[in-house]
């Protein structure tokens, strides 16, 4: 299958736009700049994690209600490894990479000891997350869709409780604090001011790019066809020689790998992780991004991530300001009410999401012929056959 050109163009433009955003908002003054970075990097996390979830939920039709556990695993693995033994990992790299000064520090960013430590942490987080999905998936993936969803829901809660209570490993409810920054030049008296605010943002864009590449390549491959077949009709997939159990496992593991990557990006942004980050609502919001954007649609889910991420962060920052102006305290939970309303409206008027899948899965052939896809929301077909 060839790459749909229109989609590739869209994704490349989106990535370049994200990359240029901080430079554009710089012109609007410091406050706007910081605000755009805060909102932008928050959106990036949603885009990454929603895209990961898209592989499992959107492309394979396996509902996962606990994606945050795998994101959390990535973040915690990173945080614990980076802070272990008084930042020993960074110390180890600082020992043998040359110490740079001035602008060389950011030009040769890949020699930065902090960054090398982060790069070391990423594969470990990914492997651990994939192992976990394998362990969880092996006994449960043969359950039909809805039961599997409950398993993931339960698992995320167990993960949350373990992280909260096993303080000897996870530092308990206080969380892991003082995680070193992505680059050594982001903190301390000799920091480069620009990068101390933007490094994690650019890292997020890079992670998103990797994520998009993996997802698109997977979907357009032989394996991807198998995933789509499993989603569409399990019985038919089976009787055409698709090993359903294997493909379910594959989608789960790809999801968990990308989610762990998203977890590290989350850590790079916050430099802190606590059990509060493993809130069940986060799982639901990732899922909302997928449904809102269009299940299985790479472009759609990207837009879904931007929409919900931006809305969340704008309301978090904006609500107190509004409350102050009108002299009445609006509770923070109002944002969930708003999410609910948006979701209902989208499902009513665009049941297949903002950008449904038809256009891109079929290499543009459908668009040309003007064929349409039936307007049933696929979300409610999850776990049912036929």
């Amino acid at each position: 299958m060839t790459l749909p050109r229109k989609e590739t163009r869209f994704l490349l433009i989106a990535l370049v736009a994200l990359l240029l955003l901080p430079f554009a908002t710089m012109l609007l003054g410091d406050r706007a700049w910081l605000l755009s970075l805060s909102v932008g990097s928050y959106c990036l996390l949603y885009m990454i994690n929603a895209q990961a979830l898209n592989v499992q939920v959107g492309m394979t039709g396996l509902l996962n209600l606990g994606p945050i556990a795998f994101v959390g695993l990535g973040a915690y693995t990173g945080a614990l490894m980076l802070t272990a033994g008084d930042n020993a990992l960074i110390g180890f790299y600082a020992g043998f990479v040359p110490e740079l000064s001035g602008h060389l520090r950011w030009v040769l960013f890949f020699l930065d000891p902090n960054f090398l430590a982060y790069l070391t942490v990423i594969p470990v987080a990914i492997v651990l997350s994939m192992l976990l999905s394998l362990l969880l998936g092996l006994p449960t993936l043969k359950l039909s869709g809805d039961y599997f969803a409950i398993v993931t829901l339960g698992f995320a809660q167990i993960f949350y409780l373990v992280v909260k209570n096993e303080a000897w490993l996870t530092k308990g409810s206080a969380g892991v604090t003082d995680v070193p920054a992505l680059f050594s030049f982001c903190t301390g008296p000799n920091r480069i001011e620009f990068f101390s605010h933007t490094a994690h943002y650019f890292f997020g864009v890079a992670v998103l790019a990797v994520c998009l590449y993996v997802v698109v390549r997977l979907r357009d491959s032989y394996l991807g066809r198998g995933l789509l077949a499993v989603r569409d009709n399990e019985l038919a997939a089976q009787s055409n020689g698709v090993n359903v159990a294997k493909y379910r496992m594959l989608s789960f593991m790809v999801f968990s790998a990308l989610a762990a990557l998203g977890g590290v990006a989350m850590l790079a942004r916050a430099k802190f992780v606590s059990p509060n980050d493993l809130n069940f609502m986060e799982s639901i919001l990732f899922l909302c991004c997928v449904v809102l954007g269009g299940m299985g649609s790479v472009r759609g889910v990207l837009l879904g991530g931007i929409a919900l991420g931006a809305l969340g962060e704008v309301m978090r920052i904006g609500l107190p300001v509004v409350s102050e102006t009108i002299g009445y305290e609006i509770p923070a939970q109002v944002r969930y009410v708003l999410f609910g309303m948006i979701l209902i409206l989208v499902m009513r008027y665009r049941p297949n999401g903002i950008l449904p899948v038809a256009a891109e899965e079929h290499a543009g052939g459908l668009e040309k012929l003007g064929a349409h896809r039936d307007a049933e929301p696929t979300f409610f077909k999850l776990g049912t056959k036929g």
Binding site: D232, A237, S239, H362, G365, L366, D374
Partner: protein, 239 residues
């Protein structure tokens, strides 16, 4: 006597706690069209599902090409040349007609031959060529059934298991489909196991037939003899 292509030896299976097949013995020879007839709930579909590995054998054995199929997973059975076209037009609704057909060739890697077979499917069912970019779900019932059969054939099977291909279709289309089945059987040497409610048509198409009643085989004979058997006529052919 040569060994049959497929052989059921005292096969018992069922769902959950309930046994559906109470020890079935049957055989299918190379190049035959064999039909299973019987009323609703007799176990016809279950027999096919067990042969294709979707259902597990509880007791007894299924032999195919001199090997026991017990415990072999469905995708492996497809790889060995048994293709199941399940009941109720199980097509991929959200994939195009062409993608549906290509998925039928999922286990093959001979691109050039696949392309040729794709053309061949379109020749066999010209309507599918017209609809090749349309989503499977937007086809009519008859077209979907043609697509399901064509997709099954894309896997280059040695054995085609057809479950109720006439279900809910207009008589003219049904005749068309059965004609094609016969042609495929003769021209491409595909052995066919046909499960059908429409016993009349099934017995006209097949060489041999088995009558299933509540999980047991009660009769087996050449198709034309079965069609003239008074008991069969009364029970399944409307007197």
């Amino acid at each position: 006597m040569s060994t049959p292509l497929i052989e059921f030896k005292g096969v018992k299976t069922g769902y959950g706690q309930m046994e559906v097949l109470h020890g079935i013995d049957l055989h299918v020879d190379q190049g035959e069209i064999v039909t299973l007839i019987g009323s609703n709930g007799a176990g016809k579909t279950t027999t096919l599902m067990t042969l294709s590995g979707v259902n597990k054998v509880w007791e007894g054995e299924i032999w195919y090409e001199g090997a026991c199929l017990n415990g072999v997973p469905p995708h492996e059975i497809v790889a060995r040349g048994i293709c199941h076209v399940p009941e109720g037009r199980q097509i991929f609704r959200d994939l195009t007609v062409e993608e549906n057909l290509r998925l039928g060739a999922y286990l093959r890697s001979d691109q050039a031959a696949i392309q040729k077979d794709l053309e061949h499917s379109f020749d066999m069912f010209p309507i599918l060529r017209e609809r090749s970019f349309q989503l499977g779900g937007t086809l009519s019932g008859g077209e979907q059934q043609m697509l399901a059969i064509a997709r099954g054939l894309m896997g280059k099977p040695k054995v085609l298991l057809l479950d109720e291909p006439s279900l809910g279709l207009a008589p003219l289309i049904v005749a068309d489909i059965f004609e094609t089945v016969k042609r495929v059987n003769k021209e491409e040497d595909v052995t066919v196991v046909l499960v059908e409610q429409n016993a009349n048509l099934a017995l006209k198409t097949a060489n041999r037939g088995y009558v299933l009643e509540t999980g047991t085989i009660t009769l087996s004979d050449d198709a034309d003899k079965l069609a003239n058997n008074p008991k069969v006529r009364e029970a399944y052919l409307g007197g």
